[in-house]
């Protein structure tokens, strides 16, 4: 039996995304330049995948890596060679993937003509391996950083922290990620491998020869007119119709972002600075201040092949609006995985031991905290090891100050500008963007290590101009 029923002829099909169109083979830089539209046109390049570092040796309990901090060249704009500083000469530097309970040793060799050091941002690290601004590796020297990895899974990152120079070395490329995993996270079955994508966002500006252009601005910090994602101008990423874990790091000197997907489609946040939240939180607009990390799971199976979804910066303008585009490819997909509704339980914390207030302001000589500038010979605060303290950051200025504690994590308690974002309440943080004229209160936990650490503003032009104090955990 045949059923006759009307059918309307289709006039067109969905346009193939750019990723699927054949590209001409090119040889010379000039040919690449002449073919490209504008080197700044967004969504022209595929998202570069950051390489992962392979250990030089492994034992039952320890992985040893070796990195050289050196100058290098990167093709950031098509057809141009951009001089950079890089871990192993690449920007962003290679990712270290660590596992809780397994020690990692990184031998950092400084092949730059000036001092450097390495700070593992967000890590529980003994003071002598934390990358204190005064613990430096001289030019030509090397140092073995020991990372015990005793904390829960988290998206960490590492960068230079030699005092007074960080704004330039980070800008010129000394940045990479350090992905710490654990068994509890593995049991959740979150997307892995090619579906677990680290993404480093930073704003840059360029000279006509393709080199990075840096103009110091100690007031608002550096602002570039172009967003680089994993070292490419607002790239595109071909995604399958399934869930992806995307780990975002704001590695900008001083620019804050407000991430937004398509027409406000939900970004399901599963983790923040200090690892997994207690439960996933769908968000439409996610502020990302310098040095902050957020991990999302995005379900692309709700989109059809050929569709294109843009992730953009709602607080940007011109070239700093488009961050990246997801081009949905492929057809049917069968995926069993669902994001669990409970990710991790919050640890109980001891009652706070002390309350301290930190006034952030432009003082008589520079940006200061409580009227003080960084002095390596002075200890500004001595919290007890294992205790918690209520720290209140009072911003008396018109600039954002992303305040960061080395070596320790905190929980958000209160913001004077409104309620604390649910996602910020459900997890640990190590950096909080204190907005203009805002007061932010956090509960910091000074464990597990004793020793000298610093806390500072992560708008790096502020930090380099000594908006940093020293704490000794006793």
């Amino acid at each position: 039996m045949r059923n006759g029923f009307g059918s309307i002829a289709l006039l067109c099909t969905v346009a193939a995304p750019d990723a699927l169109r054949p590209r001409k083979a090119t040889v010379t830089s000039a040919a690449i330049r002449s073919q490209a539209k504008s080197p700044f046109a967004p969504f022209q390049r595929d998202l570069p995948r950051i390489p992962e570092l392979v250990p030089v040796s492994s034992t039952r309990t320890r992985d040893t890596y070796a990195l050289t901090v050196r100058e290098g060249l990167a093709e950031v704009l098509p057809g141009f060679q951009t001089p950079i500083y890089g871990y192993d000469g690449v920007y962003p530097g290679p990712i270290i993937r660590a596992r809780k309970g397994r020690e990692v040793v990184v031998r950092q060799t400084n092949a730059l003509p000036f001092e450097t050091n390495v700070h593992l941002h967000g890590g529980y690290v003994p003071a002598e391996h934390d990358g204190h601004p005064m613990d430096i590796i001289p030019a030509g020297g090397s140092f073995d950083y020991h990372y015990p990895n005793d904390q829960d899974a988290a998206t960490l990152w590492y960068h230079d922290h030699a005092h007074g120079r960080t704004s330039k070395t980070l800008y010129y490329g000394l940045v990479s990620m350090y992905l710490l995993e654990d068994e509890l996270e593995a049991e959740l079955g979150l997307p892995q491998g090619e579906f677990d994508v680290p993404i480093v966002i930073a704003d840059h500006a360029f000279n006509k020869d393709g080199s990075f252009r840096y103009a110091e601005n100690v007031d608002i910090g550096f602002r570039g007119d172009t967003i680089l994602v994993n070292g490419a101008v607002s790239p595109r990423m071909a995604v399958q119709r399934r869930r992806y874990r995307l780990r975002f790091l704001n590695a900008s000197n001083a620019r804050s972002y407000a991430l937004r997907l398509g027409k406000g489609r939900p970004l399901l946040q599963i983790a923040g600075d200090g690892g997994l939240l207690t439960r996933p939180v769908p968000r439409a607009r996610v502020p990302l201040h310098p040095a902050e990390r957020t991990d999302f799971v995005i379900d692309f199976s709700q989109y059809g092949p050929g569709e294109e979804i843009t992730l953009y910066n709602e607080d940007g303008e011109g070239g700093t609006v488009p961050i990246m585009r997801f081009d949905i490819t492929g057809g049917r997909v069968s995926e069993e995985f669902r994001v669990p509704t409970r990710l991790r339980d919050a640890e109980p914390l001891p009652a706070p031991n002390a309350r301290r207030t930190w006034n952030l302001a432009l003082g008589t000589a520079a940006w200061q905290i409580n009227g003080l500038s960084f002095d390596p010979n002075r200890i500004d605060v001595r919290p007890r090891r294992g205790s918690t303290e209520v720290w209140t950051f009072v911003n008396n200025s018109n600039r954002v100050h992303p305040m960061h504690l080395h070596g320790f994590l905190f929980r958000m308690m209160d913001r004077s500008s409104g309620p604390v974002e649910l996602a910020d309440k459900l997890g640990w943080k190590d950096t909080v963007g204190v907005l203009p004229n805002e007061t932010v209160t956090v509960l910091a936990w000074f464990a597990p290590y004793a020793g000298k650490y610093v806390f500072h503003c992560h708008a790096l032009e502020h930090a380099d101009k000594a908006m940093m104090l020293q704490m000794e955990i006793v």
Binding site: M1, R2, N3, F5, G6, S7, I8, A9, L10, C12, T13, V14, S38, F40, A41, P42, A205, F206, N207, K208, D209, G210, S211, R213, E216, N217, V218, D219, I220, D225, T226, R241, G262, K263, R265, Q302, Y303, G304, P305, G306, E307, E308, I309, T310, Y312, G318, G319, V321, P322, G331, R332, S334, L362, T364, A365, A366
Partner: protein, 239 residues
């Protein structure tokens, strides 16, 4: 003649009128606080070789400094509120740019130094490419989402009887989902949804009791667009 450009806007205007840009004199440039627009009293002044320019911070209530921002000279005063004045005597013709580092957005200026006879300096050679800004000229982002709005085409639907069941053959123009719904006596007795590739395919619903069923076939593509036209309906008697 020694000219001090005073603090208020009205006097500033008067001074600007009284002092043509080519006036031959030592010049004082006053830092001016303004809640939204800190500025220099005269962002562009002209002097002759050998004349002195003074930057005055008297009466300011915010912190300022002056720093050279072109490479042909050097001046760098400390940050201070109402700090001491600083002066520079220019000995060569040229354009000398300066800035307050704390208010670099609005407090910029240039001193144009002419030779004795008042001729402007020859234009400097262009800086090398490595010092020329390559500005991002991207137009504003217009499209935040490109969604597939094209409905798939479902045709060649053929419903036939099989043993204790119904088989539906069809053709779909895109990858998608086909739903088959069986009704009997006005009640839905069975639905079956399958993901299918583009092209022809079939769905068999078995385990039916004997009787006459209404069969409704609909389809969506992977983006969720329903096939155009009304769902295909048929009746089939299962034995």
């Amino acid at each position: 003649m020694r000219v001090v450009v005073p603090f208020t806007a009205a006097a500033l205007l008067a001074a600007a009128l009284a002092l043509p840009a080519t006036a031959s004199a030592d010049v004082t440039i006053q830092a001016v606080d303004d809640v939204i627009n800190n500025r220099w009293s005269s962002p562009e002044v002209s002097v002759k070789v050998g004349e002195k320019v003074t930057w005055s911070f008297a009466g300011t209530t915010l912190m300022h400094n002056v720093k050279s921002s072109s490479t042909n000279w050097s001046i760098d005063s400390p940050f201070a509120i109402a700090g001491p004045s600083v002066s520079q005597t220019f000995t060569a013709a040229g354009n000398y740019a300066y800035v307050c580092q704390l208010h670099a957005g609005t407090m910029t200026g240039v001193v144009k130094v002419t030779d004795e006879s008042g001729n402007p300096a020859p234009p400097p050679p262009p800086p090398p490419l490595s010092e020329q800004p390559y500005a991002n000229d991207t137009p504003p982002l217009a499209v935040y989402e490109l969604r597939d709005t094209v409905a798939p085409k479902l045709d060649r639907v053929n419903v036939s009887r099989v043993r204790r069941g119904v088989r539906v053959r069809f053709r779909l123009s895109e990858d998608g989902k086909v739903a088959v719904r069986l009704t009997r006596g006005g009640r839905v007795v069975k639905t079956r949804t399958v993901e299918v590739d583009r092209g022809t395919g079939s769905v068999t619903v078995s385990g039916l009791r004997a009787g006459t069923y209404g069969v409704q076939v609909s389809a969506k593509d992977l983006a969720g667009n329903a096939a155009s036209g009304s769902p295909s309906r048929a009746r089939v008697t299962v034995r």
